[in-house]
C-alpha cells in the first residue's frame, strides 16, 4: 500500500473531522466534487453538514472563517490555488493575523494553499506565497515536504489556536508517495535533517527539498557530501537546526521556489549571517526562481525554477569557493 501526499492531506482532514467536532471545511467545489485536486473527496458524504461549497469569494471565505473561529470552531479553508489568496489578502493579513494581538481572542483558522509550480500552469496557478505571509506577524506558515509531514502538520495546524497558512505543494500531490503516513512526527518549529553530509548545507522546504536531495545525490559521485535541511515551517523558522548543520559543514545554500527578492531564503541567509557568521567558511548563497512571473511553457518553467541541475551549479560554486 502506498500513500500519496494528497492522500495524506485528505486523511488528515478526515481524521480532524472525525475527532474534533469543531472542525469544518470550507472552499470552492470541495463538497460533492471533492475539490479541484480531490483533497476532500468523499468527505462531504462521510461528514454531512461539515463540508461546504463556497461562492467564488475568497475575501468572504476568510472573513467567514475568522468569524467561525471567534465562535469556537476550527475551519479549514481550501483556496483553489494559492494564487487566489491574493484576493483574500486583506482578510488574512489584517483580519485573521491581527486578531489575537488586538483582542486577546485567538482565531484558529487553517488556510490550505495549493502552492508551487507544475508544468503548464502559468503565472496564476503556480505561485509560492509562503514568504509573503510569513512577513506578517500573527501567522504560522507551514510548508510540508513529506507525506508524513503533510498529514501530521495539518493535524498540528488545526490544533494551534493561531491562524495557520498551510502551503501544500501541488507538484508533490501525486508524485510523492510513502509506505504510510507514519513518520518521526517532529513538532512544528523543528526542522529536519533529511540527509546528512559534511561539505555543505542546503536549506530547503516543500518541493525543493526533493530537488535538493537529487542535487546532493548527483554530487556524491564527485565525493561531495551535502547535508539537506528541510525547514518544514518557514514561520517559525528553526534557525538552531540550520546553525548546527552549518557548524558541521561551514557552507550554506538556501533554496526556494519563490521569487528571488526577499522571502524565505533571504530570511535564512540573513539570520545565519548574523547568528552563525563565524561558522561560515564561504559566503552563504541563495537560489530562488527567476525574477519574472512563473512562465506557462514547460521549457520556460523548467528554466525559471531551481532544478537539481541548477542547484548542483550553485553548490559547485559554494563548494569551490
Amino acid at each position: 500500500m502506498s500513500v500519496t501526499y494528497i492522500d495524506a492531506i485528505r486523511e488528515a482532514q478526515a481524521t480532524l473531522l472525525r475527532e474534533d467536532p469543531r472542525v469544518f471545511l470550507y472552499g470552492q467545489d470541495i463538497g460533492r466534487f471533492g475539490g479541484a485536486f480531490k483533497a476532500t473527496k468523499g468527505l462531504l458524504e462521510e461528514f454531512p453538514g461539515r463540508v461546504f461549497d463556497s461562492p467564488i469569494s475568497e475575501d468572504a471565505m476568510i472573513g467567514l472563517a475568522v468569524g467561525s473561529a471567534i465562535e469556537g470552531l476550527r475551519p479549514i479553508v481550501e483556496m483553489q490555488f494559492a494564487d487566489f489568496s491574493s484576493v483574500a489578502f486583506n482578510q488574512i493579513v489584517n483580519q485573521a493575523a491581527t486578531h489575537y494581538y488586538r483582542t486577546g481572542i485567538p482565531v484558529p483558522i487553517t488556510v490550505r494553499l495549493p502552492s508551487g509550480g507544475t508544468a503548464g500552469s502559468g503565472p496564476f496557478h503556480s505561485q509560492s506565497m509562503e514568504g509573503i505571509y510569513a512577513q506578517y506577524p500573527g501567522l504560522i506558515v507551514l510548508t510540508p515536504a513529506s507525506v508524513s509531514d503533510a498529514y501530521h502538520m495539518l493535524i498540528d495546524a488545526v490544533a494551534f489556536d493561531d491562524p495557520v497558512i498551510y502551503c501544500e505543494h501541488k507538484f508533490l500531490y501525486r508524485w510523492l508517495k510513502a509506505e504510510s503516513i507514519n513518520g518521526d512526527r517532529l513538532p512544528i518549529g523543528q526542522a529536519r535533517i533529511v540527509r546528512t553530509g559534511k561539505h555543505a548545507t542546503v536549506v530547503a522546504y516543500s518541493a525543493m527539498v526533493h530537488e535538493a536531495v537529487r542535487a546532493a545525490d548527483s554530487l556524491l559521485k564527485d565525493g561531495w557530501e551535502i547535508e539537506v535541511v528541510d525547514l518544514r515551517s518557514v514561520k517559525p523558522l528553526d534557525i538552531d537546526t540550520v546553525l548546527a548543520s552549518v557548524a558541521r559543514t561551514g557552507r550554506l545554500l538556501a533554496v526556494g521556489e519563490a521569487f528571488p527578492w526577499g522571502g524565505v531564503t533571504a530570511e535564512v541567509v540573513s539570520r545565519v549571517a548574523d547568528e552563525g557568521f563565524h561558522l561560515l567558511d564561504a559566503p552563504p548563497l541563495r537560489h530562488n526562481s527567476r525574477d519574472t512571473p512563473v512562465p506557462y511553457h514547460p521549457k520556460l518553467w523548467a528554466a525559471h525554477r531551481p532544478t537539481p541541475e541548477s542547484i548542483c551549479q550553485s553548490l559547485r560554486k559554494l563548494l569551490t569557493f
Partner: protein, 340 residues
Amino acid sequence: MEMQKPTLDGATNREFLRSVFHSMLRARILENKLSSLYKAGKIVGGVYLGRGQEAVSATLGTSLVQGRDVFAPLIRDQAGRTAFGEPLIDCTRTYLGSAQGPMRGRDGNIHRGRPDLGVPAMISHLGSQVSLVAGMLFAKRIKGTLDGTVGATCIGDGASSTGAFHEGLNLAAVEKLPMVVVIANNQFAYSTPNQRQFACADLVEKARGYGIGGLAVDGTDLLACASVITEAVRRARQGGGPQLVVAHLLRLSGHGEHDDASYVPDEIRKGHYGRDCLEVAMRQLVEHHHATVDEIYAWQDEVAEEVQRAVAQAQQEPGPDPYREVWSALSHTFSHPTAQ
C-alpha cells in the same frame, strides 16, 4: 436611571423608545465630551463621531440582545454600542489610552470590541466585517445555537462600494443567515458624495439583486427607525434571511474631528436630513407622551455625570507599559526557536 432593555417587538412600545432615546443621549453626550477632549489634545489618534446617526444605531443596538445576538459596530456606532450594552468606560478607556481598555492600547478608538460578548473588533478596511459576522452566524448554525439569533452590522454608503461588502452579503444570502446589514447613507464617504460612489437611485435597490429583504428608512426619524429596523431584525430572526436596511441621514460632524466638512453644501445641511435626529426623537417622545421634557433633562444630567465619571476614571488609569508588553502576535509559544 437604569434603562431596562425592552422586549424585542417593541417598535411602538414606550419602553423600547425610551431605551433607544436614552442610548442616543448617552452617545451624544459622550461624543460631545470626546470631541472636546480631542480639541484639548487629550486624545491620541482620531475621533470619529456618530452624530446624526444615533437614531439608526441605537435602534439597531436596542433591537438586539447581548449574550445571544452579534452586533458588529462600525465607525459611527457609539449609540448602538451603548444600546447593545457596552459600558461607557470601555469607550473612554480606549480613547484615553488606558491599558485597562478592551484593546489594552494595542488598538484604538472605534476598533474596540469584545468578540466573546458578540461585539467584533472592527478592522479599518471597510466592508471586512460583513463576512465576519456571517461567519459567526454560520458557526452558530453548525453548533446548533443559531435559533432566534441575529447578527447585525452597520456600514456606510461608501463601504457599499467595497468588494468585501459584496462578497460578504452575497455569502450571507446564499446561506440565508439571520443577518441585518444597515447602510447608514449619510450622503458622504469622507468628502465623496453619493453621486461619485454609486449610480442607483437608492442603495436599497441592491437588496433584490442579492435575493434578500430590503427596507429604506428616514434615519433622522426615531419612530420610523424603530418601526423599520425592528421589523428587519424580526424578519431575520424569524428565518427570513439577510435584511438590508438603508437609512438616509446626514453626518452632523466632520468625517473625523479633524475635518470641518466644509464640502457639505449648505442646501444639504439645511435640508431634511440635516435635522438633528436627537432633537426629532426628543420631540417625538414628548409628543407621544413617552417621556416628559423634565424627565429628559434629568436623564441628560445623569448621563453627563456618568460620562464625567467614565472620563475621570480612564484618565487616572495608566497607559500600557512597553516594558511589560508581551510582544507576541501569537497565542502559542513555541518551545523550539521562533522567527525573530
